[in-house]
Amino acid sequence: MVKTAVKAAEEYEGQYEYATFELPNEELFLPGHGLCAGCTIGVIARHMLKVFGPDTVIINPTGCAEVSTVVYPRTNWAVPWIHVAFGNGGSVASGIEAAIKALKRRGVIDPNRRINVVVFAGDGGTADIGFQALSGMLERGHKVIYVMYDNEGYMNTGIQRSGTTPFGASTTTSPAGKVVPGNIRHKKPMAAIAAAHGIPYVATANPAYVHDMVYKFKKAMEVNGPSFIHILQSCTPGWRFEPKYAIRVLELATETGYWVNYEIENGEFRVTLPVPRRKHVKCFLQLQGRFRHLKPDEIEYIQKVIDRDVEEINRLMGREVIGPLDPSLPCLTERK
């Protein structure tokens, strides 16, 4: 066992208190997968299994994670794993959770054993085609942890827009053209939508901040009822950045206020990763090919939307947790 103190906020002002727990050395998400270089799905899967442990059943709807980790006869998962279809993560999980309950009553499964039922699904499988199954699962209160990795598009089928593709992104079904500058809609607010179901735990996370992310896995595991974690995930071919920037681009998402890490526990909202001063959103955008076509006024429009969102978040928190825009901050700083 490696002792990993989980005090995410220490790095960020030291004003947040987190539980400390150990992450095991043991790997349950095994090496040798077929994910792209620079894909952060593996970072998420590996850490979530370290937290959830071997008594976990994974439901993986169709998408990149599925096709690149479980190609018969090989697998990267050392826990029971099932893929059924693209649009039914929530309902397959509902059945599994119900079966565990019934089989515990029958004594087929040891009633004292805690088995985590975890859906690991992309944004398409969650926000679009799987939306109904997710909503039904949340509304019925199944004790399932739903982890949505959001690469902001249908990446498995070759980069098409989804309901969480951001404004301005060029995808193959929202190509940047002469008339339309890429995707013209804003991201569907999945965490807020999940929270509106009144479930006990909802969070957003970013694999660039692993401590914050694993702490949220742990929280989700411990609540009594459904939980939903929305995780931003960088995608090399879809976002078009050099693989070495996989984590940097995610850091920039947080540093620019494009992505805010928060949690909603029993209805109570709180930002878990404060950002004292914000970088301009162009820092996040210019690292990626999917935004390369954007004109200055379109970038300024995106900046305005972020400013407004940040204002709303600060209002919800009752104080400034995401700081003001500081144009003097360099986009990429030298790493220590």
């Binding site: 071997p54 018969y72 893929h83 059924v84 089989l103």
Partner: protein
């Protein structure tokens, strides 16, 4: 042999006669089979099944997890998940509900999960029509499910019990569907014999939990990507299991007979031995067909009848034996094979089985009313050579092909 065999059998288990609708007979059989997980979504005409099961669960008569899902897509997904975890499961649907499940139906086969599903058969939209024909069930023929089509409430009750035994048999591990006429069977009160001691049902059909499952102590992956180098071999195992199930279905039907005193075979025949004209059909209209056979016999026409019961796996060899020597085989289909070689799906399959043309007419489409006179008139046309094989005919369609 038919269920109406004249020789009284020694019944092993005590039974009592009650009256139930087809739907409630199914619900009772399911209850006695003690499913661990039920996923339910209402659609006419099956709704009373899932309502009754909810009642059983909420009254404490059945200890099961009941998931009132938000759609049929999710109903099938939930029973797939539950079955994959090792639970005995049940769901039921009709018509558009089955269509909405469709994506998941072959997945239950590929994952080799012994799900049992009921279908109160109903036609499909458009135009919207909630009434009974077999347009829904017929769309499942290529998917790998075991498909029973039953005649009445008693057979529906008995077949649910048999289906669990078959599906969970080590040699099978495939999902099974038990279909019966929407309304004509689902909603009509009928007498039936049920065991006095419910335990007898679970004794006959104990939960094997022998299939491949998700188990945290023995982790495995269900539903991995099957590349072109592997997919076919894996799928082929389901093909062979379905073929193998033919013998298991018969074996369990015979054993059911020993316990309950009733058996049905793969198909049912009536006065077929010396027949020159055979009327082949399925579902509840078989009773009318038998009446027509009697009338034709009285008039000197050597008629007989055959009711298809197990349509997947297709009992080809036995059907051939039963029908080979009969000059005119007349299939009354209850679903449309749009633009197919014959207008009805079962006629197409019977013709392929016999390797010769058959007579074919459609009836009851959208639950168009039918009576024995209408069937009689059609059969007379076939007998007299007024209708030709390989053509499209209809019974009861205004301005239809007659």
């Amino acid at each position: 042999m038919t269920a109406q065999a004249l020789v009284p059998r020694e019944k092993k288990i005590a039974q009592k006669r009650i009256a139930l609708t087809g739907n409630h007979a199914v619900a009772l059989a399911v209850k006695m089979c003690r499913p661990d997980v039920i996923a339910a979504y209402p659609i006419t005409p099956q709704t009373p099944v899932v309502e009754k099961l909810a009642e059983y669960v909420n009254n404490g008569e059945l200890d099961a997890e009941y998931i009132p899902v938000e759609s049929e897509h999710s109903a099938m997904s939930a029973v797939i998940g539950a079955s994959a975890m090792g639970a005995r499961t049940f769901t039921e649907t009709s018509s558009q509900g089955l269509m909405h499940m469709y994506e998941n139906l072959p997945i239950a086969v590929g994952l080799r999960l012994p799900i049992v599903m009921g279908v109160a058969a109903r036609t499909i939209s458009a135009p919207i029509n909630v009434w009974g024909d077999y347009s829904d069930v017929m769309t499942m023929r290529e998917l790998g499910w075991i498909i029973y089509i039953v005649q009445n409430a008693q057979e529906a009750f008995d077949t649910i019990i048999q289906a669990y035994r078959v599906a969970e048999d080590q040699r099978v591990h495939l999902p099974a569907v038990v279909a019966y006429d929407g309304f004509w069977t689902s909603h009509v009160l009928q007498p039936l014999d049920v065991p006095e001691d419910e335990e007898d049902v679970i004794r006959f059909s104990p939960i094997t939990r022998s299939w491949v499952k998700l188990d945290v102590d023995k982790p495995l992956q269900l539903g991995a990507v099957g590349t072109p180098e592997w997919y076919w071999e894996i799928r082929w195992q389901a093909v062979e299991a379905l073929r193998e199930s033919l013998k298991v279905i018969e074996e369990i039907d015979r054993e059911f007979d020993k316990w309950f005193g009733r058996s049905y075979g793969l198909f049912d025949t009536y006065r077929l031995e010396d027949a020159e004209l055979a009327i082949v059909t399925y579902g509840s209209i078989y009773g009318l067909v038998k009446k027509v056979v009697n009338r034709l016999r009285e008039e000197g026409v050597k008629a007989g009848a055959l009711r298809l019961r197990v349509i997947r796996p297709w009992p080809g060899d036995k059907l051939r034996k039963a029908l080979d020597n009969i000059e005119k085989v007349f299939v009354i289909d209850r679903a449309i094979n749009h633009g197919g070689p014959l207008i009805g799906p079962m006629a197409t399959e019977v013709a392929a089985t016999l390797q010769r043309p058959v007579y074919n007419a459609l009836a009851t489409i959208g639950m168009r009313a039918i009576d024995s006179d209408m069937i009689y008139e059609a059969a007379v046309k076939v007998a007299k050579g007024l209708w030709a094989p390989n053509q499209t005919y209809t019974i009861g369609l205004r301005g239809g092909y007659e």
